[in-house]
Amino acid sequence: MTSADLADRTVTAGPVATLAAGPAAVAAVTAGTAAPTVSERAVPLVIRTQGLTKRFGSGQVAVDGVDLEVSRGSVYGFIGPNGSGKTTTIRMLLGLVRPSSGRVWLLGRPMPEAALQVLPWVGALVEGPAFQPYLSGPANLARLDACDATADPRTARHRIGEVLERVGLTGVGRKPYRQYSLGMKQRLGLAAALLRPRDLLVLDEPTNGLDPQGTREVRNLIRQLAAAGTTVLVSSHLLTEIEQVCTHVGVMSRGRLVLQGERAALTAGAHVRLAVTTSVHHVAAAASVLRAEGLRSITTDGVHLTGVLGEAAPEQVTAALVAAGVDVVGLAVERPSLEQLFVTLTGEGFDVVR
């Protein structure tokens, strides 16, 4: 029996059972190759929501029927413009906001019912850091640790020292939190999320307020954590900041999850376009060859033609063009960036504030 079989078997027993699959299931995820979407494969889900909806008193639907699926070991980029419902979704995941309808499972347990059992394994940074302004950074962490019934008070000092070092906040001394710079505040927020070993990290806009160097450090931190087996859900309204670290992507627009899946799969396959540049007299011939080779949505702009590659192989298309006597002045395979994908899907710019 392969590890993939094991994962297949366990997922049918429900989310709780998939968790118990442990390392074997993780291996199945990493061993898996071409998988169109998470839902089509049997992988243990660390976060799962079903028809998650939040309607506020004003009648505004902030989150509308979201089915999130975050598999163990993944780095899930949760992206969308400001106001697209990311933070409200995250608040519902963590049991801070009650869904109007729909359900949430975190680490295989229902939320918010199992919050006390699940949340000790979840580190969270929600809508920016927030601490007691008059306490120092270490004192703030000590306070959060004192609130955690499952944290060992004897190791608190040691753990706080370690985590401050980890986020690059050593030597802050007794300076009160309110005198921290935005970057230091963000680091302290990350430190709080890492105060104990976590299975899942939910990081809402972790790079807000950080300079490019700080942003790089956060990306490296996420990579390290993911390498050690922690699942990370990281939200951002700035695609380029997190695009590089994500294994999976979920795109929110106007409260809906318009797209989710493996990043590599999303920016490949159906959305890859072939761009051909030919000479003035061969435009019509080139278009008919492309059509014959199975390219779809062919557009012509002067001597430039593009079409969705689909199942067609670029080298065969090239050969067919040459065989048909079409001048091939230039030829390129264009993989869409996440941003282009987003614009295609939603028909709006990414920085739109609703």
């Binding site: 049991g95 949340l119 007691q132 306070r143 499952t150 980890r166 070993p197």
Partner: protein, 295 residues
């Protein structure tokens, strides 16, 4: 192995249970108390209230030979110059209408709304702290601050009273004289009753604190409740509801100045406070345990 690996290495995961440590509740409470009493505003509050008996003592000491010496505070002021013991009850009497409700409002109104406004509430709840336990810890720390406020007034009054006027055997309202030691006990009784009289207002403040994310609003609301209750208590047409008013029994601490203390009357006062605590405690709990935390 670097320290980074240590942090990441010890991974039990949700497969292993998160076991609560013994004494976790006490640790949370200690942390809350440290937070409340470490806050400079609250320390200033205690210092300000403690200054009231000192101020009264200085004024009375300076003015004791003037023709106005016998006036004010229902004759209490005149007694202070004769016996420093009376300074405690006098100071509490002066602080009860406004200053103590103000202190209670600040302490209780800030409890939840302050965390909500700072955004720290969402991080406390995702630690996770059970909402009921957090509310209980907040209530306990608030009650402790209110008790400390009454304690500060009483303690400074004892010291200042002894220093300026000396502590003598105490002549009660009925004219009987009791030994100074009993007088001290009676003053402590007054302080204890005043502190317990504020518990209902603490519950009101906590409830208001769960309703809003603006601590100043909850603080002001709490003070308004106390003041309105005091006003309603003066309208004769409302005699039917007055026994149940939050402030109706507040001045019953005078019982401790009578030879025969009416424990029944004091018991009634405490029962009214218990009722307010029960009602507004339940309201605060039901609101706080179900509210969306979107701050």
């Amino acid at each position: 192995m670097s320290s980074v690996d240590v942090v990441l290495g010890a991974r039990a995961g949700a497969d292993g249970p998160a076991v609560p440590h013994r004494g976790a509740r006490a640790r949370l409470l200690r942390s809350e108390v440290r937070l409340v009493f470490g806050r400079r505003r609250n320390v200033a509050l205690l210092a300000g209230l403690g200054a009231v008996p000192l101020l009264v003592a200085v004024v009375l000491y300076v003015a004791q030979d003037s023709p106005f010496a016998a006036e004010g505070a229902g004759g209490l002021l005149a007694r202070v110059t004769g016996n420093g013991l009376f300074l405690a009850v006098t100071a509490l009497f002066m602080c009860l209408p406004l200053l103590l409700p103000l202190a209670t409002g600040v302490a209780s109104g800030d409890a939840i709304a302050g965390e909500a406004q700072a955004g720290t509430l969402r991080y406390l709840l995702t630690v996770p702290v059970p909402r009921t336990r957090l509310l209980a810890a907040k209530a306990a720390a608030t009650l402790l601050l209110v008790a400390a406020a009454v304690g500060a007034i009483t303690a400074v009054a004892f010291v200042a009273g002894a220093a300026f006027f000396g502590l003598q055997d105490m002549t009660l309202l009925s004219g009987t004289t009791v030994p100074a030691t009993e007088g001290v006990l009676r003053m402590l009784g007054v302080a204890g009753y005043v502190a317990l009289s504020l518990t209902g207002l603490v519950a009101v403040g906590l409830f208001l604190s769960t309703v809003t994310e603006v601590p100043v609003g909850a603080m002001a609301g709490t003070v308004v409740v106390a003041v309105v209750s005091g006003v309603l208590d003066t309208i004769p047409q409302l005699a039917a509801i007055q026994p149940g008013l939050l402030t109706h029994h507040w001045l019953d601490f005078a019982e401790f100045l009578r030879l025969e203390v009416s424990w029944e009357l004091l018991g009634q006062g405490l029962a009214v406070q218990a009722a307010w605590v029960a009602v507004f405690g339940a309201l605060a709990w039901s609101r706080f345990t179900t509210a969306d935390v979107s701050s």
